[in-house]
Amino acid sequence: MSGQSAATLRKVTVAAPPTTRILSWGRYPKTAHARVYKPAWNDEVREILENAAPDSLLPYGLGRSYGDSCLNAGRGLIDCRRLNRILGFDESSGVVRCEGGVSLSAIIDVFLPKGWFLPVTPGTRFVTVGGAVANDVHGKNHHCAGTFGAHVRQIGLHRSDEGLVTCSPRENSDMLHATIGGLGLTGVIAWADIQLKRVSGPWIDADLVPFESLDSFLYLSRESDGRFEYTVAWLDCFSGRNLRGIFFRGNHAAGRVENVHRKRGPKVPFALPGWILNRYSVKAFNTAYYKLHARKKGATVLPYDSFFYPLDSIRQWNLLYGKHGFLQYQCVIPATNMDAIEELLERIARSGMGSFLGVLKQFGSAPPAGMLSFPRPGLTIALDFAMRGERTLHLMQSLDEVVQQSGGALYPAKDARMSPALFAASFPRWRSFVPYIDPKMSSSFWRRVTGAQ
């Protein structure tokens, strides 16, 4: 056979049989997808988009969204994890161009040894750049750096209708603002230019301060925001109105440059039986956690990964919640409405369903980087709840009332069940986002909260 005819028979990009079920981080809801594409190159993305039916696809990254915003039940996903090339780096400005599937973890591995760090990082390093943009994620430095989207200089966006579109503040700026926080609905991110930040090394000067009331948390926040780049608090959600927790604050440590060696932590091997995390075990955990950290209070130098990503050290920690999965509840309450925070904590404590992952953080006043960005001035609180059916959903509905009355909002990246009314109250401008949705994109979340088809 002559060599030439070989080329003519080459395969086109195929959809993988959806054998391994794709779930979000909360493992709820349990959905099935009709098709999962796994492009390894950007030219394949174009081909997939061209051949797709309207409203049939959604880009998917590392699946760290908790609810259904990264799912597309009964339809298709474009798994972007193989689109993970770093396309360029400008040493002088610190701007890196990455494909959408590059993980924040990979960026750290390549650039931290060169003295550059992420401008904003969420509580896990296992998210993709595309996911960080699509959810406009925030971190412990929101009060001084804003969201991830604020550090995106330019995006190359695959659109099914217009091809590859460059979006920057000068060019297609409205599409840039729609894509930041746009939940993957505006197209597939081919590449994004991210402004990295110069740091002196991989260590953090951290300071741990126990607190025993909401007022003292607020005081600590106010007092720390000017002096510390990173602030966040862990809270014991069984403490109700007698709030207690640990306030973590830190800055990049100047002068300490020796390498941090990443340890491969333990892994939760399978979904644990649901009864392991019950109100008594979690309460005991919370008390122990509080006492342990209260004893360690004061200044300490930590490797960056244990400061930013304590949970990443336990691989697949989401399996701790058992086969029914869990829900995370993350809301923001306007600063003028602190009573609402106490009411939320009261309701959670009364339900006895709290978790060991309560997080409290004061957002800064940076203007939103995207049309549907979640962070806004106020106090954000995030809590996990094991999925125990109606009981859990009822509790969350009762929390919704408090959030809605206070003029607050819920975070789509964490949500699997908010009502269309609460979504509209949280994102009053959502209708002006609709024209930017790619005609071939849709998601389980979007259909649920807007009634789109």
Partner: protein
Amino acid sequence: MIANRKKIVVLGATSGIAVEVERLLARQGHELLLIARSPQRLAELRADLLVRGSSNVLTYSADLASIQGHAAVFDFVRRSLPEYDTVLLAYGSMHDQNDSETSVDILLEELQVNFVSATAILTLFAADLEQRRTGCIAAITSVAGDRGRRSNYVYGSAKGALSLFLQGLRSRLYPAGVRVMTIKPGPVQTSMTDHMRHSARFADPEQVARDIVRALERRSPDILYTPKIWRYVMTAVEHIPETLFKRLSF
């Protein structure tokens, strides 16, 4: 590190396993010469490998399945990276087995890509390295080549034939001090296998790449099974009597 910096030629540089191997090599600062079909993909890959630490990345776009182009490929390598010390052959093609049973064109293409063209290009490099009395030829075949199975014997026979070819080549180049390594991965999660049902036995390409790079750094083994468990699995599979084996449909 500069003292033992390698110069590596990768044939089929954009394949799923090759990309991961190149990343690990780039991190160690090695020089790479990449050959693959798509200039666009080569450019993207090159950028990535430079950021990750490779000291030099050259690219050349060619369809290696077409033997007519081999002389130009070889010529480019000799001109632009004459001191290359390692050749890694990483391209391959796997159609659905059913298609190779019903279409002779697809059957022949499978043999052309995986076996015929591979032996042709390796013959050029073998002569050069034999004369220079140095270097290493490594080629990715497959555990599928260890025994003809119902579910993929066409792909398997092409890869198995390539393994045999490498075995002979190893013996020929041994006196010249040229190493020939046969790499036999089990099933790996890459674009090549996306049409199959992935299961837990499909390895992560990163893990396979780590094994390959570690083996390239050493003088042994001659035949690398990756992940390692496949060495034992295939030993067992090879010992099943044919009368029984022909009744199995896996």
